[in-house]
């Protein structure tokens, strides 16, 4: 377990519910955690860069999670984590979010993204908004900027008793070109 010394802020219980909800996804959709997740944060100046280095160092020290850091064309930094277990990745995402929050960069956090593979319908993501503490599904289709709304709504119906979900579909903003 990484970042244990910092502890959790305790307001992320809705994020940790994912460690239970993925079982439902497995049972009802034959969907499994794809081993990848990421926290996406808007770049800032000053102390921000040293926190980024700090987080990288912590991730380097973590034996059960491998990671890479990417910058996108919107000016966001992606901490992309790879591990087999969803518990580990949720804890890591929470720890990274906590670290940035602690230094006053909570508003910079865009979202966290968790990748899943469904047996029949392929790749989809659960996007977690750290401000509203809600999840929403995102199922991009393979061709271009299109999404499978019907599949997203199915995921929503299946998970609505398990996770705190965003009810307002007009806020289900896509993130195109997720780098995993």
């Amino acid at each position: 377990m990484i970042f244990r010394s910092r502890g959790s802020s305790g307001n992320n219980t809705s994020l940790f519910a994912l460690t239970q909800a993925y079982i439902t996804l497995d049972v009802r959709l034959n969907a499994r955690f794809a081993g990848n997740a990421a926290l996406c944060i808007k770049e800032a100046t000053g102390v921000f860069n040293s926190i980024v280095e700090d987080v990288k160092a912590f991730l380097d020290a973590s034996s059960d999670i491998s990671h890479r850091v990417e910058n996108d064309r919107y000016g966001y930094i992606w901490f992309i984590l790879s591990t087999d277990t969803i518990e580990g990745v949720v804890a890591a995402v929470d720890a990274i979010a906590d670290t940035f929050t602690e230094y006053g960069f909570k508003e910079q956090i865009l979202a966290s993204v968790f990748a899943f593979n469904a047996e029949k319908r392929g790749r989809f993501y659960l996007i977690y908004n750290h401000r509203s503490n809600r999840f929403y599904p995102f199922a991009p289709s393979s061709r271009g900027r299109e999404r499978d709304v019907e599949f997203e709504m199915l995921i929503y119906s299946i998970l609505k008793d398990e996770l705190v979900l965003e009810k307002d579909r007009s806020r289900w903003y896509p993130i195109w070109g997720i780098p995993f």
Binding site: A111, V149, E150, L154, Y156, W172, Y173, P174
Partner: protein, 295 residues
């Protein structure tokens, strides 16, 4: 005398039908009032009123086709549409209804007819354009469920009861106070008020029955195709809800950072009370729960 349709932006078809049936209702009312005035008794009045309603029911498909401008089409003109209807009626064990098309861009569909054998399923050209085959199948299955459940008959019966209730109240008031008593003016006003209340309550009840049967048709239609999510996605397209799903990247939106404080729209209960159709959002939710339960 009733019709079912996808109540959305489509004011054209809805307005034409409402106008048509309102004119008919006003004509009946004037006619029956004249009869009452010249001294025809309550029992004959009920029979005459009932006769009108039954005639309207028997001619309902013709009235609906005429007022909506839907044209019966053959298999040669619309093979895709006929093929879908053929598949579904074979599975549902229903006689094949006539198939009609309305030339308008507004996506809509309805079923009408007095019985399972003489029904009509009508769709607009706009509906066929925006839906794929599976979604169109979902919509037509919903309409066939209306036919199978004899919903036109159910609503007509409900209307007959409300009409009878109206005349009984009306007439009962007259006879208990004496039609030409000294209290005539006051009695008349009270009679009108009570008749209005009777009519209004039965109107709300008919709307409630109609909404309930809409859910049942969604469910039965979805069972017929085995794909509730396709009807849900058709409903989203028809209602324009699909366009409310954002396409813009979260990062672009975040840059404008004004979007996260918009409150969710709250449902308007009053308009729900008057509506013949349940809120689309609710129908989609039920259909998706049905789909989820199949997984």
């Amino acid at each position: 005398m009733q019709r079912y349709e996808w109540k959305k932006r489509d004011m054209g078809i809805t307005m034409r039908l409402m106008l048509c049936f309102t004119v008919l209702a006003v004509l009946y009312f004037i006619f029956l009032s004249v009869l009452a005035y010249v001294g025809v008794g309550m029992i004959p009045l009920i029979f005459i009123g009932g006769f009108f309603i039954i005639m309207q029911y028997l001619l309902s498909d013709r009235i609906v086709l005429w007022s909506t401008g839907a044209k019966i089409v053959s298999e040669y003109e619309y093979p895709r549409l006929h093929a879908i209807v053929d598949r579904l009626v074979a599975r549902a064990g229903l006689p094949k209804p006539r198939v009609a098309v309305m030339h308008t861009d507004v996506p809509n569909a309805f079923a009408t007819g007095k019985g399972r054998r003489s029904s009509v399923v009508a769709v607009t050209t706009g509906l066929m354009r925006i839906l794929n085959d599976e979604e169109l199948e979902g919509v037509i299955a919903h309409e066939l469920a209306h036919i199978k459940n004899r919903d036109v008959l159910a609503i007509t019966l409900a209307s007959i009861f409300s009409t009878i209730a109206w005349y009984v109240m009306h007439y009962g008031w007259y006879s208990s106070y004496g039609y030409r008593s000294r209290d005539q003016a006051g009695g008349l006003i009270l009679a009108i008020i009570i008749a209005m209340i009777t009519w209004f309550v039965s109107f709300l009840i008919i709307r409630a029955i109609s909404r309930y049967r809409e859910y049942i048709a969604d469910r039965d239609g979805a069972l017929l195709t085995g794909k509730p999510s396709r009807l849900a996605s058709a409903l989203m397209k028809i209602s324009g809800m699909m366009s409310r799903i954002p396409e813009r990247d979260l990062r672009e939106v975040e840059a404008m950072n004004a979007f996260f404080i918009i409150p969710a729209l709250s449902g308007d209960t009053l308009s729900r009370l008057f509506s013949t159709h349940p809120p689309v959002e609710d129908r989609i939710r039920r259909l998706m729960e049905m789909e989820a339960s199949m997984h």
